[in-house]
């Protein structure tokens, strides 16, 4: 446990973590100090003055909470009349030129300005002069739309491009009324984390072109999950909503704080992977190229398995630990070799030193845990003499060229248990739809050997069966995640002492990785 200090807030003694500033330290124990420009990942800037608090120890009457470290015996004033007046005045200042865009602003509902107005201000405007008009709906590139009128000049976005991405595309130009955030002429945002400024912006000045006008924030259900875009395993919120008479649809991913994995951010590509969950999904099972009922498809899988001379089981590197284990057990039961061949999921040289990794699959590290070989040679060796290939959501068309796949399928029957519609599914003899990760629960091991779990987020109107259920229907022993976890604990030495049902929010480091924690 971190060191604690005792201090007084509004005369009441509290105990907080030492070494932090007032906003963070108090925030951890549930006392909120309003702030606009401060962000834990971007450091204190002290330009918004919203976090001014009083400290009764002979200092100047007011200090910014973001720049003040907690100290033993400190007497902090949060509710004095003068503090309230300052907060009111700051709000009034911020709102002088703020347009009443709330009805058309995507930020409405999760806007700090709205929240603070309701909490700390609540007064009608006294302004009689017309507000300063600035540019609206500016295309900043990378799918970021900027509205200068809504901006409160907290400079979070500017600091993000300077401190985090170190690209520095944004800056504040001019002063006073004319001050505004802008890009350099002809130099739009150009980095792979640009959409984080949308989340960082406390108001609606930065909005995402992709999410623009799709939904209001308050309609969205925010379910925690884990991004499957690459092997980093960034923690995310899946924002989804079931509109009346429609299906449960995901509208966006947002990064979720996990100091040990992704900090406060995620990459733009990862954000856009929500589209794969919505679109192009495999809906109806297919048998020999025609649509079939689910039971019929399962029946034909069982028949194919029982008739096959030699079957090979191919597992997706995106599958959860539990699913991999269940598939492994299933393969052992039907006496088939298991492969994790998925070279096509790796995009060499694409990764960087921050969050993006070369490996675009979420759980390749589990292959090593379970002893599943994902090399091409092993896959080819396994295929030798095989007449049935069972692929559990492993899209072979990513790893093999079209010709190679056709050649492979010439003497091998392919059964795809897949969540989306791919070339491979189109060529498969039997295709069985299965729930994707947003509709399923499970555990993942990321590239740094950190074990994390995710829960069911989206429930479709006609939910697809989870991979474990499909495996069970096809003759697998394991019926549920619980059984798989029990089996995993017995089979894998590293997991023996870990309660797989109760993985903490930050995850558990399985191996002491050399890779340092992401400095958020």
């Amino acid at each position: 446990m971190a060191e604690k200090v005792k201090l007084f807030v509004n005369g009441q003694e509290v105990e907080v973590e030492a070494g932090k500033n007032l906003i963070d330290a108090f925030g951890a124990i549930g006392i909120e100090i309003p702030h606009l420009c401060y962000h834990p990942a971007l450091g204190a800037d002290g330009n918004c003055r919203m976090c001014l608090v009083g400290i009764e120890d002979g200092r100047p009457p007011l200090v910014p909470a973001c720049k003040t470290k907690v100290a033993e015996g400190m007497k902090v004033q949060l509710d004095a009349e003068k503090i309230k007046k300052i907060q009111r005045d700051i709000m009034e200042l911020e709102l002088i030129n703020h347009p009443i865009d709330c009805p058309i602003c995507d930020q409405a509902g999760e806007c700090k300005l709205q929240d603070y107005y309701m909490k700390y201000d609540g007064q009608p405007s006294r302004m009689t002069v017309k507000p300063v008009l600035k540019a609206k709906k500016m295309d900043f590139g990378c799918g970021v739309v900027h509205d200068q009128e809504r901006c409160v000049l907290c400079a979070r976005c500017v600091r993000f491009t300077r401190l985090i991405t170190k690209t520095g595309e944004l800056g504040i130009v001019n002063r006073t009324d004319a001050a505004r955030v802008n890009i350099f002429p002809g130099r739009p945002l150009n980095n792979r984390y640009a959409l984080n400024v949308v989340d960082l912006c406390p108001v609606g000045a930065m909005t995402s072109r992709d999410f623009r006008f799709k939904q209001r924030a308050w309609f969205l259900t925010k379910s925690p999950s884990i991004c499957h875009g690459c092997s980093k395993g960034c923690n995310i919120f899946i924002d989804h909503n079931r509109e009346k008479y429609k299906d449960d649809v995901i509208y966006r991913y947002r990064p979720r704080l996990n100091e040990k994995v992704n900090g406060y951010f995620m990459c733009d590509e990862g954000r856009m992977t929500y589209k794969l969950e919505n679109d192009n999904r495999l809906g109806t099972p297919r048998v020999n190229g025609r649509e079939a009922g689910f039971d019929e498809a399962i029946e034909s899988v069982r028949r194919a398995v029982s008739e096959a001379k030699k079957a090979v089981v191919l597992i997706s590197p995106n599958a959860s630990l539990e699913q991999m284990f269940a598939a492994q057990q299933f393969a052992a039961a039907i006496n088939a070799p298991v492969s994790g061949y998925s070279d096509g999921y790796v995009k060499a040289g694409d990764g960087d030193d921050f969050l993006i990794k070369d490996d675009k699959s979420a759980n390749r590290a589990s292959f090593a845990l379970l002893g599943i070989d994902d090399s091409k040679t092993a896959f080819e060796a396994a295929l030798n003499g095989a007449d049935l290939l069972l692929s559990f959501d492993n899209d072979l068309s990513r790893s093999l060229s079209g010709d190679a796949l056709t050649q492979l399928l010439a003497d091998t029957k392919l059964i795809m248990v897949a969540s989306s519609q791919t070339d491979c599914v189109a060529k498969a003899a039997v295709a069985v739809p299965v729930a994707s990760y947003s509709e399923d629960a499970g555990s993942l091991v990321n590239c740094d050997g950190r074990l994390q779990s995710y829960e069911v987020a989206v429930v479709k109107n006609q939910p697809a069966k989870s991979l474990i259920e499909v495996l069970h229907l096809c003759g697998g022993e394991i019926k549920s995640n619980q059984e798989a976890r029990a089996g995993l604990q017995a089979a894998v030495a590293v997991l023996k002492d870990i309660d797989l049902e109760q993985i903490p929010a930050e995850g558990i480091a399985l191996t002491e990785s050399e890779v340092a924690h992401v400095a958020a």
Binding site: C102, P103, I104, A108, R212, F213, R216, W218, E243, K244
Partner: protein, 174 residues
């Protein structure tokens, strides 16, 4: 029976009222008075001969909805979803899109009100920050031959005129 029994005082304890018959006859006299006067002259019945005699609709009366327009003919609605959020019957279904008529940024591309689900509470009108939705059409009888015909689309909502002048409507407390 462990519940607390509360004994109510009964009215009409005296013999005269307990006889009941006298009170019955008094009641019957009252109703007969109505009967005979209506029987002899039916011109004073409390009846509106509805399809021929229309009821008088006041400006505050909540009729079928409409979407209002600016003077230049562009719609006032900016698709803020306030009405949909407030709707207790969840009968409003909006899809927002980029504005194309030159005003601000946002407008509805689809705005459906299912009149079969609507309970005519008027919350949408109260919630609207733009005065874009009103229930002042004075239309109270909505008929159709199938369910789909009760779903009012954007065009139909915009095409319906209000039944009152702006002054009358404002006087109604809107």
């Amino acid at each position: 029976m462990s519940g607390k029994v509360k004994i109510m005082e009964r009215k009409g304890k005296d013999l005269y009222e307990r006889l009941y018959l006298v009170e019955v006859f008094k009641g019957m006299a009252v109703t007969f008075g109505h009967f005979i006067s209506n029987f002899l002259d039916n011109s004073k019945l409390y009846v509106r001969h509805y399809p021929e005699q229309k009821p008088e609709i006041t400006a505050r009366w909540r009729g079928r909805h409409r979407l209002t327009k600016h003077e230049d003919g562009t719609m006032k609605c900016v698709a803020c979803f306030m009405c949909q959020t407030n709707c207790p019957a969840k009968c409003i279904m909006i899809e927002a899109g980029e504005r194309v008529d030159g005003r601000t940024e946002k407008m509805p591309v689809r705005f459906d009100i299912d009149l079969l689900e609507c309970i005519y509470c008027g919350y949408c009108v109260e919630a609207c920050p733009m005065d874009a939705i009103r229930m002042d059409t004075g239309i109270f009888a909505v008929t159709g031959s199938d369910r789909q015909s009760f779903v009012m689309g954007l065009d139909a909502l915009l095409a319906t005129p209000g039944a009152f002048t702006e002054e009358e409507y404002k006087k109604g407390g809107a």
